[in-house]
């Protein structure tokens, strides 16, 4: 009976339309890209911001959370660039090749572009769009899910990002670090990256997002990742945004046959955070580890939504997501494993666990299996609970004070996920970040 009735637009929806109308002429890209932008914006215009009655966004009502749409970020000034020099501290001593973005714009002078390894090519999205780079043209938008409004907004408004290609067989030892830093301006950035790892190549891509507290900036980031046959790729996302920031980010990956693929999401900051992973197992015999750890406090809200689409036979995937929730924090995990009809011998196991440090914290875990093949091994589990008082007493009885005892148990809880990271330095850095978070908590 409501057919034909247009939903009343929220202020943010109206503002987004204005932002797009003002920017559409000046956004980079040729006519084909402009058409992609228009089509994507059309989806948003039709659907509006996703809200709680859209099942995939049930626990993260973006329409309610996003009160206003910030203007597009202007190019960063010298002061913002100077501040960005100290960013990325969470990674500690991990030796990476940094590609730095301030308010979504690539900053070559802060980035490590010298002595690129053989087989590695790196550029900016803005540059590749301006040049109609054929690598970009072949890949851009190919993995973006057709019906996701957050990704559609990214496609419509993408300004810059990284475009990376790793040639067949190349091994890139130094992890590539896409470092996204927000300045103090309350602005919006839409970053889009495309990473193509060709057959048999080896690479690690770290994507980190950080910014100042007390600035209500908005980040919408999307990364399309192509993992070739027999390639070995690790993707790590670190969300350390300021407490007032709105962060929506998406990893969309297509994984080729016999590839090894690992993804890790570490969320320890941000106002509302929506972390989306759309992973397509397109070739046979893939071995994948998809993990994550979230540490949330105050009134933080972080939602990790994963769709693992097993479309080919004989793949193995392990999903382990852990969250630690203090104060009035709200953690959400939605994980869907789909096994297509031909994906026989799929072996997929998903576990999600929440540890609640406060009676007011909330955890929503929604694991789902959709299985269309008949010869598979799939399972999922979800738990949430408080710290085990028996274990804590054992530690107390050995002279360990309560705060330290809880910290040890939290570290142990998250350890199971973090220890799945193959890179030792990064593993240590994240364990250290957990320790710091716990220290701040008991201080």
């Amino acid at each position: 009976m409501n057919a034909g009735v247009t939903t009343i637009k929220t202020a943010a929806e109206t503002e987004l339309a204005q932002v797009f109308a003002r920017a559409r002429e000046s956004l980079p890209g040729d006519d084909a890209v402009a058409a992609q932008r228009e089509a994507a914006f059309g989806l948003f215009a039709k659907e509006g911001l996703p809200h709680r009655r859209v099942e995939d966004w049930k626990y993260t009502d973006l329409r309610a959370l996003m009160r206003e749409a910030k203007p597009l970020a202007p190019p960063p000034d010298a002061a913002a660039k100077a501040r960005a020099k100290t960013a990325g501290a969470l990674l500690g001593d991990v030796e990476t090749r940094r590609l730095v973005f301030v308010d979504g714009a690539f900053v070559p002078e802060l980035s490590d572009l010298a002595h690129l390894e053989k087989g590695l090519s790196v550029g900016s999205l803005a540059g590749a769009l301006a040049d109609s780079d054929p690598v970009l043209t072949r890949h851009l938008g190919k993995l973006a899910p057709a019906n996701d409004v957050a990704v559609a907004l990214n496609t419509a408004l993408m300004g810059d990002g990284a475009v990376i290609r790793i040639a067949a067989g190349a091994t890139i030892e130094r992890p590539l670090h896409l470092l996204f830093v927000a300045s103090e301006k309350p602005v919006a950035s839409f970053v889009r990256s495309v990473v193509v790892v060709e057959r048999g190549a080896r690479a690690m891509v770290i994507e980190s997002h950080e910014g100042p507290a007390n600035s209500a900036y908005q980040v919408n980031a999307a990364l399309e990742l192509f993992v070739g046959d027999d390639a070995h790729v690790d993707h790590v996302k670190i969300v350390g945004e300021g407490a007032d920031a709105l962060h929506v980010s998406t990893l969309a990956a297509a994984i080729g046959a016999h590839a090894r693929f690992n993804a890790f999401s570490f969320i320890a900051g941000g106002g509302p955070v929506r972390n989306q992973l759309f992973l397509n197992f397109d070739g046979e015999g893939i071995v994948a580890g998809i993990r994550g750890a979230s540490l949330l406090k105050d009134r933080q809200h972080a939602d990790t939504t994963l769709v693992a689409n097993h479309a080919a036979a004989g793949c193995q995937s392990r999903e382990v997501f852990k969250s630690v929730l203090d104060d009035e924090a709200h953690g959400v995990f939605q994980g869907r494993i789909i096994v297509r009809r031909h994906a026989q011998k799929t072996d997929a196991k998903m576990m999600t666990q929440a540890l609640l440090l406060s009676e007011r914290a909330e955890s929503d875990n929604k694991p789902e299996l959709e299985i269309f093949a008949d010869d598979v091994q799939c399972g999922h589990g979800a738990t949430s609970g408080a710290i085990d008082e028996e274990l804590k007493f054992y530690l107390l009885a050995r002279g360990i004070p309560a705060a330290e005892a809880e910290a040890l148990l939290v570290q142990a809880f998250l350890g199971e996920a973090i220890e799945g990271i193959e890179h030792a330095g990064l593993r240590e850095a994240l364990l250290e970040a957990v320790a710091d978070w716990l220290k701040a908590r008991s201080a």
Binding site: L391, F393, A397, P401, E404, L408, Q411, A412
Partner: protein, 252 residues
Amino acid sequence: MALLEIRNLHVEIDGKEILKGLDLTVNAGEVHAIMGPNGSGKSTLAYVLAGKADYEPTSGEVLFNGKNIFDMTPDERAAAGLFLAFQYPLEIPGVATMTFLRTALNAQRKKRGDPELSTPEFIKRVRETAGKLNIDQDMLRRAVNVGFSGGEKKRNEILQMALLEPRLAVLDETDSGLDIDALKIVADGVNRLRSPQRSFVVITHYQRLLSYIVPDIVHVLSAGRIVKTGGKELALELEARGYAEYQEEAVA
């Protein structure tokens, strides 16, 4: 002054009285055995000394080294030199045994105002202690008690005790579930630590352990009170005749 002085201790769990006026005095250097039938309150005594939540002392007092232990948190009691060897040591997945041992040792040292041990000093001390107790180095590399056999868990308790060097160790049925070889290792660990300054309260159901850890004084605990106290020969008597007469006595 006695090291441990328990006077007329009453303890409830969930509103049910388990200890009903228990008295016990342990002097420095003494080994006391507390024997008794199931349900007599042996483990309750161990837990209330260590400070477990839900074990509610309703009257009486417990002085440890002259201080009221009910004014102290469990970790403060441990740092003051009280050690409980658990009947069922807990498994802590994800916490490495070495991290656990070092955190405990340094937390206690810090509270006592001693400097923390450096990593090499600590490792040296653990290796030496483990060697004396016949503990495999491999056990130290695993998470606390995870995948340990019953005997390994009990040996790990003794290792912790040896490292932490308490003034008073309470062993809660450390002999349960041990075969004779493991029992000897555990008893040997305890005997090595006996000294004029250190005391033990050995809680057990059976006399067997007391052949290896020879007590100075044996108590019979029944229905929440000490009903008989004697020398080491009392343990043999109990082994021969059982607890029946004490249970009747307690009820009467």
